[in-house]
Symmetry: C2
Subunit: 170 residues, 2 copies
Amino acid sequence: MKISAQEEYGLRCLLRVAKSESGAASLPEIATAEGLSVAYVGKLMAVLRHGGVLDSVRGRSGGYTLAKPAEEIGLGSILLILGEPLFDETDYCKKHAGTEAPNGVCTNRSGCTLKSLWQTLEHWMRKTLDQITLADLIQNEGQLPELLRERLAAAVFADEPQLLTLNVVR
Amino acid sequence: MKISAQEEYGLRCLLRVAKSESGAASLPEIATAEGLSVAYVGKLMAVLRHGGVLDSVRGRSGGYTLAKPAEEIGLGSILLILGEPLFDETDYCKKHAGTEAPNGVCTNRSGCTLKSLWQTLEHWMRKTLDQITLADLIQNEGQLPELLRERLAAAVFADEPQLLTLNVVR
DNA sequence: TAAAATCTTGACAAAAAAGTCTACATTACT
DNA sequence: AGTAATGTAGACTTTTTTGTCAAGATTTTA
């Protein structure tokens, strides 16, 4: 459940591009700033570009720019480009069926317990992360914990506000 | 940010032990039920035993039992035994310092932005997960999404209830 | 005591992730 | 046109994670 190297460094490099004021950010520029090799940053940028969050320009004064305004790039979607979600519907049941599910239908009790656990956890986390944008990361550096908490609260109560009164009663 | 094999399978095997009604659960028993090799389950159980959530008995009618009642074993702590947290204070700044922190003090702006992001995310997630026990996983199988959401809401509002009114106003 | 069933441990093998290297394509500047 | 600075792509190497194997220790049962 830890954050992969690609997620950590990819996000950092993307932040560098977002912060870059003088036009496009170049590979050597980003690599130096983050203390990574140029080759590795090149690989990370390729992932982000294919994911659609970055545009690139080749040639002498080339480099990378954001494909959309920083205000429109949510953290959740960035992390999905760079790595895998907590729970991946597509191959979960195939990989973890166990012997209680011989008929193809997922009858594995403990398996499906965990499936719905991961699924729910993934849902709240992604929802919360997507409400924090690259712009937030740059502007609200100091208040990030408070911001995250606020967005988390908003996400939890967004769907069914009646939970609110339920919570007040306690 | 995905769940590691050790976390997934370790938790499953632990659930098997918790569900086992006829005394201790044996390696072959668990391995068969989960569709894993006996050797691999043996390794996973060793991790859980060293982590203090399992007791083992050797010999002919041996096997594994929970070291504590299932009601007292929180998911967050189990997952910390089986894998790494989202954010690990100890080596984070050392690994990700970049070139803006040459003096040892962490002056890396984007680095520390992410640090507080991961730290906060880890905080809520762990807090929420620790309020769900092995017993919950067994008893409340069907209502797990609702349960998780409820516990998440409780965790978010536990420290500072004034956020509640703030949210009502919206 | 012997045999069978179990857990324990550390070395090993296989697979996946992280990171590097090389050759090349594109653009700007002179 | 030539050169230097940039991004691109795929093969490769290294490291970490996953999973297996083999030898041994413990307990029960006959």
